[in-house]
Subunit: 514 residues, 2 copies
């Protein structure tokens, strides 16, 4: 997902833990036990006939990925959206889904599909069919040609959407095709609930859930197909996301003071209020001097420390992490308060943030221009751990501003949804771990990531566990030269397209207990 | 001057004052006496022969103004600068200046001229020959055609530079031509020290003074030709300007923390410092919550209250002012602390300011983008009353930031010069008042304006009184449709070009005591 994809870079880096500062709570670890995913028995099923079908079909399976990636579907620019939605819908139909329909929303349509195998278990598959915009001149191979390109890791498909998210999703459908070709049906029932606005922040996904909520509740869990292997073959997993509140703050001259209609000469500052300084003071009032503790009363009230289960996951992460490498990868010299170890991990994953994404007012060109601007604006986001609802967070910020005399600061909410958390002990989670353990060593499990995705629709609204999962490796989401590795080089211990599809086969049978 | 021209709009509006707030000093008035400029005897000289020559020459005099205005001289774009400098130089030569030379500087050249009349008194004339850029499509008449246009006030010349400052300056030279034509010489010696970078903030004017400092010191005062009449005929005058300190503040990720190389994903805020919040906190530390009191220790220390002379001027201004009209003209609903009367005037003219002219960081486009920017920048200016030197002000700000842990905030000084003040009792001032009183009623004198101009070069460095002066009316400086009124309509009690030139004739004779 938009925020998530970027954060998938993080698992390999690892986070670090506990809050310092005047008002930030501290969540000290109460155990030194670490969750060891290698103790989950590796999946032992062997579906050689299906694997063989995959190997034989790998050329047409590769072409299926290319067909999807060659269809542009840029949600932000409304390019190819209808075509891609229909391509997904008709693919589901061809595979054998009894239901395969477009879902109208106030934005781009969703796609709904049901494969009723008469099985005991039902897996809901979340998909996104849209992609980020491109600057074609920045690409080594045209972003919508989906060429096979030689890469240091092996043969890759280079295309917008290669790893985010068409590659993993279409690989999953390929696996279904091979299972059905060999076995006649699937080991579990499937529901697909896809959207075409993930890159826009999933504004209308709730409408898709509205349409099929009762059906979705019948599912046992939610899979988001994804490629989670690092180039060294290690897999990683995260079981939760923070929520987010995104808003603009604006100060504008008005009855309270300041220039009302336009900028005025800077010398008037002596007797005229500055909306820019007012915004600066209002933002400053939200945090401590160092910018790292949120001074809004009650902001930390509802959040909770890591559960014993999560503490064990955190300890596991801490053992694998290389903080020096992580800092280098992010491009920072130090973390706040020089945090390290589990303290840094807990801080990253369990504390809400207040961040200024953008800020602008007045003259921003070269040299000297002396004006008193009449308007100043900031874009602010707050990442919300479990327990801090976005509307509650916004109400606390509004109350804080009002009680400090900033009633005139306008807040425009642009986006907001709560956090989501899945347990490592959920059946779906355990099944995924067992499959990873079959193919790879060194699984790292984060209890959650610091980023956001609207998974609460599944975890909170529908009460389902959600796991983003899949073998394989891709990179370059939201960037030029996005790739998905389909045929690893001889020394690269990563699953290629065939391996990825086999792991999806295993996962479905593991879920079915077969 | 750049800042001054805009502020010439202010005299008609009037200011208002005393400081409130936690730390701002208050400068209560100690007298209710008001300076009454009408008590200065109107100039009684009558130079009918010269006036007649002006009337007879008015067509060619008007063409002389048009010739200047048709020569573009946009300093910011280096358009026509050399041509205009040479036009001014050769005009001085033709008028009879014994010295008329270009003055090389590290920027655009200055122009130096000396007319030695063998007289007792010497007047230094400050001129600027550059103009602001134009957007020709915004003009009713092309900005460099200098057409005579019918206006509600009468016949005007519409051109870039019409009132700022070619009209008044060339009118002054016309007056010299008529005096010399009739009398053979001038009643005072003249020095002209012109620059072509006023619209850039006069960065190299000190070099022009360097070249002729000793000669300039021989002058008795400095005149800056200007049109000071309102449409109702009333004249106004100001005797001082504030200084200014203009700098950029920047926070950038580095060893202290924050992203070092580029923006990073916004979710990292949980463990990575925000340069944007750091800049916000640093700026916030400079002022009180309301943005109106400067919290930098010692910032108000060196400034002084209005002298008894200045208090009388302030009381005079207060009697003429219409604060409601002034607020409407500026476009504000209220002044800080709801100041009014002399309190507002003293606040405007005697307090230093801290103003954010511009502010930018991160993503400023539409919608949602979640980033943690690595850099944040502000443009800040501080207007400096007499007693607060720009370098001293900057040192205090730097010390304050350092003592509050903001050592890493970079400050880049872009401009700075101190205030300037001339006494109402200076001979030059009194001569100007006497001439205004001859032609007009209702002179309003401000002790200073809230804006800035580098007049300290004359007042402090050379120890000379400086008065920007001249009858007539113009408007539209720095804007489209700039005009200079040359032939007022029948009911408009304002001096036209002939009247303006006659008043300059009178001023030179008044200075000579003739």
């Amino acid at each position: 997902m938009k925020s998530m994809i970027l954060l998938l870079l993080i698992p390999a880096m690892v986070f670090c833990t506990v809050a310092h500062g005047t008002e930030r709570p501290t969540f000290p670890m109460e155990t030194s036990d670490a969750y060891d995913p290698s103790r989950v028995a590796a999946y032992r099923g062997d579906h050689a006939d299906i694997y063989a079908h995959i190997e034989q079909s790998i050329e047409s399976h590769t072409r299926a990925l290319q067909r999807w990636m060659r269809q542009p579907s840029i949600s932000a620019q409304n390019v190819g959206i209808q075509e891609m939605a229909e391509m997904l819908r008709s693919d589901l139909e061809r595979i054998g889904f009894q239901e395969a329909a477009l879902v109208p929303t106030d934005g781009h349509p969703g796609v709904w599909g049901v494969y009723d195998a008469g099985a005991e278990k039902t897996l809901l598959v979340y998909m996104m069919y849209d992609v980020q915009p491109v600057n074609p001149e920045d690409w080594d191979s045209p972003p919508f040609e989906a060429n096979i390109v030689d890469h240091e890791l092996g043969k890759v498909i280079m295309a917008r959407g290669a790893t985010n998210q068409k590659g993993p999703e279409r690989a999953f459908l390929n696996a279904l095709e091979s299972i059905i070709a060999v076995k006649g049906t699937l080991p579990v029932n499937l529901m697909v609930a896809a959207e075409g606005e993930e890159e826009l922040g999933s504004p209308h996904y709730p409408q898709i859930v509205d349409a099929y909520e009762k059906r979705m509740r019948e599912a046992d869990g939610v899979l988001f197909p994804m490629s989670v292997q690092a180039p060294d073959g290690k897999t990683s997993m995260f079981l939760g996301v923070k929520g987010i509140l995104y808003f603009e703050m604006e100060s504008r001259g008005g009855d309270w003071g300041g220039p009302q209609n336009s900028e005025i000469h800077g010398s008037y500052k002596a007797i005229v209020d500055s909306p820019t300084l007012r915004l600066v003071q209002a933002i400053a009032s939200l945090t401590s001097r160092d910018g790292n503790t949120i001074m809004v009363p009650g902001y930390y009230e509802g959040i909770r420390p890591p559960t014993p289960e999560e503490q064990q996951l955190i300890n596991g992460v801490a053992r694998n992490q290389d903080q020096g490498q992580m800092k280098q990868a992010i491009g920072v010299a130090r973390f706040i308060d020089d945090l390290s170890g589990t303290e840094a991990i807990v801080e990253a994953l369990y504390m809400p943030t207040l961040n200024v994404d953008g800020l602008w007012s007045g003259y921003t060109g070269e040299g000297v221009k002396t004006i008193l601007p009449h308007i100043a604006t900031a874009k602010v986001d707050s990442r919300l751990p479990v327990g801090l609802d976005p509307d509650e967070a916004l109400a606390k910020i509004r109350y804080h501003l009002d009680s400090n005399g900033f009633e005139d600061i306008v807040i425009r909410k642009l986006s907001g949804y709560p956090a989501a958390q899945t347990s490592v002990h959920a059946d779906l989670t355990q099944a995924v771990i067992s499959v990873y353990n079959k193919y790879s060593k060194g699984l790292s499990i984060q209890p959650r990531i610091a980023g956001s995705a609207p998974f609460y629709q599944f975890t909170d609204r529908l009460g389902l566990p959600l796991v983003p999962a899949g073998m394989g490796h891709g990179r370059g989401a939201h960037a030029p030269n996005e790739i998905y590795l389909v045929e690893p080089g001889p020394d690269i211990p990563v699953a290629g397209l065939a391996g990825i599809e086999k792991s999806y086969v295993d996962l479905l049978y593991a879920l079915a207990g077969e």
